[in-house]
Subunit: 360 residues, 4 copies
């Protein structure tokens, strides 16, 4: 069982509610003797935290990570790394007006029916605030992989579709991603996206997004058939992120439309290096990494906490209406980029260690 724990060898357990005193994460199975500091982890934390632009939630959270264990004199010791992030700006009063109603498309309905108890403060445990803990775990996984594999290892995410607006992936520019508030890889799309999102917010509405993840430098052989396939674990990891409804590996759903010739990536040996002529497989064959870049993408549905009035029921089962005020992201998909990267890093490290045990 793994209700709040992710991973098999490199494992992390997250805890905490949106409006409790703190949230946090215990990372277990981290190899010893890896240099690690709070500062290293903070880099990824800052990419996810809210309140940085007008396009994400205005909740102000420094999201400072504090390490409580597992690191001694600047190095990991092989024991669990406990991290804590205190909640600062948690205005519970924002939620008074909706504490007895269910938001359509939101987990508050199913949580209440499952558990028979409701922590209405900001969604409690089902809040996307939980993902801050994942980013902390993912930052550690990234650092460990950089040590084990070397600097060629790199995981990058970007938003490639913002609601109805796509970007041109041929213009993919790694540096551009960090420059705009949308993690958009295509400079030309940024202006339009800005206008679109401001208009949506003004209209009290929201939109979804598609995020693409690319992992470079992955050795061949990661992935354990049949039920710990690398793609199967990536799918599980990404689908566990709040509001995600679809996951693709390589060509993904589009693979259905291709012919066998087009889809299968031809292999060539070019001066001792194995090269593939395309990457429809997304770097994974039979659940095992092929040495190509791992490519995965996932869709995030539009925020369900919107200003526009919607029909719903309340805790007593009466019909009513709801309009959610507050500081919600008009597109939660944007901040899903560092979360997706974090999950990808964790899956890859997990499989790296697993492969070492089996075929080491």
């Amino acid at each position: 069982m793994s209700f709040n724990t992710f991973g098999k060898i490199f494992r992390f357990t997250t805890w905490g509610e949106s409006h409790g005193p703190a949230i946090g994460c215990v990372v277990d199975g981290c190899p010893p003797n890896i240099s690690l500091s709070e500062k290293d982890i903070q880099i990824d934390m800052n990419r996810r935290r809210p309140g940085k632009s007008k396009f994400t939630s205005q909740r102000k959270e420094a999201d400072n990570v504090k390490i409580l264990s597992g690191v001694f004199e600047g190095k990991t010791t092989g024991t669990p790394i406990s991290m804590i992030i205190y909640n600062q700006d948690s205005k519970s009063r924002d939620y008074e007006s909706i504490k007895d109603k269910f938001r359509p498309g939101h987990a508050d309905y199913t949580y209440f029916l499952k558990y028979g108890i409701r922590d209405y403060r900001g969604g409690g445990r089902q809040s996307a605030r939980e993902t801050a803990s994942r980013v902390a775990a993912g930052a550690i996984a990234r650092i460990v992989l950089e040590k084990l594999i070397g600097k060629k290892f790199k995981v990058t995410g970007a938003v490639t579709q913002l609601g109805i607006l796509g970007c041109n992936k041929k213009n993919w520019n790694q540096k551009e991603i960090r420059k705009n508030p949308f993690f958009c890889p295509d400079k030309n799309s940024v202006k339009l996206w800005e206008k679109y999102l401001l208009a949506l917010r003004k209209a009290g509405s929201s939109c979804g997004a598609i995020i693409e993840l690319r992992a470079a430098g992955i050795p061949v052989g990661l992935g354990a058939p049949i039920y710990s396939k690398l793609d199967s674990d990536i799918a599980s990891a990404l689908m566990s992120i709040n509001a995600v409804k679809g996951v693709n590996i390589g060509a993904g759903m589009n693979a259905a439309f291709l012919s066998g010739e087009t889809n299968s990536d031809e292999i060539r040996k070019i001066s001792k290096n194995t090269k593939f002529k395309s990457n429809n497989a997304g770097g994974i064959l039979g659940g095992i990494s092929s040495g190509q870049d791992i490519i995965a993408s996932f869709a995030v549905k539009p925020t369900s906490s919107i200003l526009n009035m919607r029909k719903t029921i309340n805790k007593k089962g009466k019909n009513t209406k709801i309009s959610v005020k507050g500081r919600h992201d008009p597109c939660v998909g944007i901040r899903a980029v560092p979360i997706g990267e974090a999950m990808m890093c964790c899956v890859l490290l997990d499989h790296y260690l697993m492969n070492r045990s089996q075929c080491g």
Copy 2:
């Protein structure tokens, strides 16, 4: 770890290679006192087995399941149910010509690089033959759920896209699915699909498919946050099926294109029953079932074992070409229907039992 084991409480372990003496499955965690016979399981087995029409592999396999343990006087005892399926028509000679080459888009490349050993007979363990074991496990899960939930419980799968040809989902007809060799729910599409597939086969090519799964009668509350979400486990289960490259829950990847208003399924109380005005969520909110039908779909890539010549390398790392003769399915996606249903049934039973332990 769970290399060849799937599930948490209701668990199954599969074993066996495409061309070994037999394949099989051990089901653990099945509740006691459920009526079960080989005949019950055979119904699902027959839906998956090859050689039934000219549109699937011509390999002749009766796929008769034999129960070796766990059932006493017609009832499950709570102990492991071991099932064996003998391989009958395994022509290893078919594979002689490709035993030293790698099929582009096929797992034989990554298996060899990971394990340093190659069972070239029909793909060995990575063959889709393994899925027969899953169907046997899924048949048991289905029977147990019918007993626990009642007859309103029903899992149905259908092919909704065959290569470039879709079907009209508005014509979805449950009975039609069992009548045509494509598991197509739309009678009007069958003829065209026939022609298309015969043409593809004649051309030595192959195509992909999209399969949609619908589960009815699922109680509210199944799914355990955060890392055992129902949708997360469904994604993992479906992505573990051979050749699957994408998984959608409800609106899936299309959720990215919807507005918050359109996407969120409004809730109404109509004479004591909770009704949703749409089902973009696919019956899952925050990883927990909402009481609506569970809807999931997945894409299967085109068969990589095709007659048409492709560039590749051999075991020695030399450039070469490959053309795969043999009895391959022109569209492996078709036989993925009962496999997808089986995985869905297993995930649902697993979560049903899990929920009973937590909120029982």
Copy 3:
């Protein structure tokens, strides 16, 4: 894998080092809607904490538990319960003199060789301080079981052997256990034990102990064959406690000396109640609880951190001698009583929930 996580459905993860800022515990899988407060947990914490008598370590720790998540308005919510205990009296300087030497019989040797790094401050992670976290988890398990089973449920531990001195188990008195500093159930033994332990401490030596655990009110049917047997899980749980070297269920090692007639506990029906004429089985048959009291005992070896000079080697592999000053327990077995109880409660709750999922 479960390096720092214990349990299958009711699971806890502990973290923290003896001399870091804090230690803690994340409890996952706790059923919702159970009344729970820090005060409830503190009762068990106080029974374990050091510095209460001259017979245990003089380290002063309030061991105040703070709940950071998982409880809302006084009730569990079904989400992870994170608890933190700040370290207060951690005199790292005590350890300067031995930071490069290994204590014979102590884990500092194996930890260093395994991980290649040494947190010499009070044993770091291998310190018995970790067990405070277990007691916190066990306190929750106890409270949950009292709610689920009712007040007839009771787990009690006692020291029945202190070094070479046994007690008379026929004098077992539940109330007496809480009155003396040794958790001794036999009033008549207390005086002698006092003298013995003071003499040992004065001599710079230490001694071992045997602890017996009794669990009453356990329903029949807990335990899942074959590899999740109740006794198998109890053995694993108790052997995981620092310094434990042996575990008995019921007659335990002595079962070897009994005849079949003497050992097997005869069964009688006395006015609708099933009664056993003895309890050599310790309440467990075939790994499943029989409805009798669960009886388990375990041996704790003498503290290896002693004043008396011992031969050893240092980090550089040179021969040397060691004498450990500091505030160590002359008999760590004494404080193992609440720890043993805690582990027993956790195993029992885990199996209670497991059984509900299977045979619910």
Copy 4:
């Protein structure tokens, strides 16, 4: 969960009942490219199988292992190894007379109450017949460890106590163990044990035993704190064997009686080799192997299926008496030797692979 599966990385799942058509085992996580044949496994199987002497059950079983998967051209492939052992001599009629009664001290009582169904044929799943599958898995683990560690690796078990009769462990002779039907390491004890056991059998009674296991050549560093300690996993493994009631590591329960000086094993460096002056720790410190021999022992209770009349109840809850005829071992402890060895080999390989993943 792991009802019928043992292990974390090297895992095996057993299935089958005493009187069903067959029993078997699926080994998962076995490293690839290890030479393996049925003949190799049969060596250990033959040591456990019944009917070899008048001191064990007269049931005649060849216990021939057949490998169904996971081995190709004489080598493991990294995929699951499925093994089957057909039941031959299963006289169900022996059990007719007791099918409605419960044997005191036997699992048939608890199984029936837990599952509500009874496979009365020879104990069904709770029969010690299941252990044949473990021996098959253990044989593979032993072969893999011999390959990975080298020939210095050796696991040996012996009976050191037969009922009330001990042997002189100072006379421990490795070769002697294989010469007598008791796995007794002390030649001088054999005659007396023979007389004793024949007398017991004649009297319709039974006795218990203590088995000691010694593992040589184990590298330092195996064992993963805190809840996957090597000793914790050994305790769990041994306690899972039918009829085991106690487990000791090194000095075991006797550690309670030792002083700190006597118990802690002093360490010396003698010409570059680390030597310990004693081995009370049984080769494990803080849950991690120290490089010394691993020493564990366990007690097996006397057979509960005895001829002598005992009081009990039947399925309807009526008081009655029982006398069990049939072909039972007068001391099941004897055949527990190869089973104990098998479990030890499995735990050691599991931790060997686990350590490679973490500190590789």
